[in-house]
């Protein structure tokens, strides 16, 4: 199980603060092979599923918690989620690899709660869904874009004031 203190000690090696935290869900080998390609009919091992799901969620949560004080001292205070369009509960047509996709949904929720909590403090957020196309904007470009935020008119719609998932063609993907 991940250890938040261990993560904090590791992050401190970077120095006082940093600017961008990039989150993604680990793609497991080994145990995850027991779940790969299996639909609900195929005898999913729930104990393996729970181990992987729990690790993935706690990894993200503990990393974020350890990182927040360091991000506060950074120049940008940005948190990024790298995901893909199968993270959309509304639109996905996936039937297998439950641990990974449930972890994606969990990560989306973590990002939303982070947004609710830290946006008032000036943190900014990006969720990039890589659909595998070699067209449009890359994840690197997207995570560094500014979102046309006008501080003096912050009521004017911009992506900075809502949590939105976009792909490389900047299409919005529903959660």
């Amino acid at each position: 199980m991940t250890d938040q203190e261990q993560i904090k000690t590791a992050i401190a090696q970077m120095g006082d603060g940093f600017d961008i935290l990039i989150l993604s869900i680990p793609e497991w080998g080994g145990e995850a092979d027991a779940l790969r390609g299996k639909t609900i009919w195929d005898g999913i091992d729930e104990s393996v599923l729970l181990d992987i799901l729990s690790y993935n969620v706690n990894n993200v949560l503990q990393t974020v918690r350890a990182a927040i004080p360091f991000l506060r001292k950074g120049a940008l205070k940005r948190i990024v989620l790298l995901t893909d369009p199968t993270a959309s509960i509304r639109e996905t047509d996936e039937e297998t690899d439950y641990a990974y996709h449930m972890s994606q949904a969990a990560a989306g929720m973590i990002m939303k709660i982070l947004f609710n909590t830290y946006r008032p403090e000036g943190f900014t957020f990006r969720c990039y869904a890589d659909d595998g196309r070699r067209a449009g904007i890359s994840a690197c470009e997207y995570l560094l874009t500014e979102q046309s935020y006008i501080e003096t008119d912050d009521y004017i719609h911009s992506d900075e004031n809502r949590l939105v998932m976009r792909d490389g063609l900047l299409r919005e993907i529903s959660w």
Partner: protein, 51 residues
């Protein structure tokens, strides 16, 4: 402007690709490296590439 960036994992293809691209662009990129399986984690914070 060059930023200091941390990734929570490199056990993700997208993360590996993004970390390489960012490092190539001159950003200071770090990653938390998981050694071992759940329950036996050792966290290191490795500087990946720096121009």
């Amino acid at each position: 402007m060059a930023y200091k960036i941390l990734l929570n994992t490199l056990d993700n293809r997208q993360a590996r690709k993004v970390s390489r691209e960012l490092a190539t662009e001159g950003h200071e990129v770090y990653a938390l490296i998981r050694a071992g399986r759940p329950g036996k984690i050792q966290m290191q914070c490795s500087l990946l590439l720096q121009m």
